[in-house]
Amino acid sequence: MHDTGANVLLSLSGVNSFYGESHILHDINLSVREGELVTLLGRNGAGKTTILKSIMGLVGRRSGSITVAGRETCHLPTHRIARLGIGYCPEERGIFSSLNVEENLLLPPMVKDGGMTLAEIYDMFPNLLERRNSVGTRLSGGEQQMLAMARILRTGARLLLLDEITEGLAPVIVQALGRLTGQLKEKGFTIILVEQNFRFAAEVADRHYIIENGRVVEMIDRKDVETSAAVFNRHLGV
């Protein structure tokens, strides 16, 4: 199994999550090793975002065990969880309209040593440099997505939770995000990627978890992707 290695960075076992009275996640087990890129695939409403929110402590209530680098986080407040070295890029991107681009970029505080410098980030995202004094939400969708990613690279977080980063973006931008995600993996980031775009996901990921009705229904390794077309088809309808 994948959750036995000593280098497991994140592990969920028996996680149940609730929004008010609604029971959304049922007995989720998954784990991610250091340096791995793992996807969460599944139809709209399957519970992928809720898994990321559960990791961050942003759901109404959760039970079970979620460990980050061996530390139990189920009872920690959200800001303490983030400080363990997690960078969260939410589905709705969360660019602040009352902050300009650079303020958005500088907002997340350092959580660990070794984050990228502002110069390195501008090097990687020249558009953001050009538009650093614009209001954050005036950027194009693609630029906002870049900004949402860039700002968590500064903080030293080593585990990135990326929620549907390609959603609604033009093909060339999706390609750029693909290259970026590959670069981040090479730099040693550990990544959980929520995706609807299966081709995008298949290119970069080491493993795929398929989520359905708040449950993990399949786990497929990169090497088995080709032979699992039927499984993907059944669950994702691709």
Partner: protein, 301 residues
């Protein structure tokens, strides 16, 4: 009535003085509303409390400590009162307001209104409702200054200057500093800000403390001008709420500018048609609500 340059200017200056108080108070309300989503009805009572800290610090603290000669002087009160009242605010937030963030605005309003009535009731029990004069005004701020176009009481000039300094200092802090960017971001999306590792609950508590500390500060500055009374806040807060409605809850600068402008409008009305001076703000409130329901600086939602 004989409308001379002199009378217009002096009413404008007095209006500016009142407006400076409106500005400090509505600024605090706007900051609190932004982050806590609570309409802080206790604001007036905490302003009153600030004035009482100055008054009691001056008259009662010495005897209480067995040192009849000791007076908490005005300058010290400017610092102590915001700290004391800010501390009370922090306790209020931690023990009561915190429980209401998930529910409708209305609950926060009712709770803070209740708190205001309690403070006001307690003080009404022990102090004269028609006011007790504050004798701690420093020597330095006695007398009048020549503004060129008129003579103006030094203390009132000081109170305008110090209030504006506090207002623009707060504006600067919120709009131009790192700390302020946390606050602005927290106003927009507190969950995400917390997911970045910022202790948002602590920030919320301190923001409430700061907001009510501002009210206490205004209370101390007001003490030598208006006499200190248990109902001074209740009277003030009604006007300040009208200011906030006119300016719109969303904007820091809006709160400041609207406060100052409406103080001056009130002053001018005293020259033009005195009977309307106490209602002109409410008249304007109705007009603004009809034309721009979110307020002059507010964002439509």
């Amino acid at each position: 009535m004989d409308v001379t340059f002199q009378t217009v200017m002096s009413q404008l200056m007095l209006g500016l003085n009142n407006g400076a108080f409106y500005a400090v108070l509505s600024l605090g309300l706007a900051v609190i509303f932004g982050l806590l989503n609570i309409i802080n009805f206790a604001h007036g009572a905490l302003y009153m409390l600030g004035a009482f800290v100055a008054l009691l610090g001056y008259t009662e603290l010495g005897p209480l400590l067995g040192m009849p000669e000791f007076h908490l002087n005005y300058w010290a009160a400017l610092i102590v009162a915001p700290l004391v009242v800010g501390g009370i605010g922090i306790i209020l937030e931690r023990t009561m307001l915190r429980r209401l963030y998930r529910v409708d605005h209305l609950y926060g309003l009712l709770l803070t209104f209740g708190v205001a009535l309690i403070f006001q009731g307690i003080f009404t029990n022990y102090f004269n409702v028609s006011g007790t004069p504050y004798d701690g005004k420093p020597e330095l701020l006695n007398g009048v200054v020549n503004l060129g176009f008129m003579m103006f009481p030094t203390y009132r000039l000081w109170s305008i200057v110090v209030s504006l300094t506090i207002c623009f200092g707060t504006w600067f802090m919120i709009e131009r500093t790192r700390l302020g960017s946390y606050l602005r971001a927290g106003t927009e999306n507190p969950h995400l800000v917390q997911a970045f590792g910022i202790n948002v609950p602590l920030m919320v508590t301190l923001t409430y403390g700061y907001g009510v500390g501002l009210a206490a500060f205004a209370g101390v500055v007001a003490a030598p001008i208006y006499s200190v009374s248990p109902v001074m806040g209740a009277e003030m807060i009604i006007t300040v709420f009208a200011v906030v409605v006119i300016g719109g809850m969303g904007s820091i600068m809006g709160a400041i500018v609207t406060g100052l402008a409406l103080g001056m409008v009130e002053g001018l009305t005293k020259v033009i048609y005195p009977p309307a001076s106490s209602t002109v703000i409410f008249f304007m409130m109705v007009l603004v609500l009809l034309v721009k329901p979110a307020g002059l600086f507010g964002k439509e939602q």
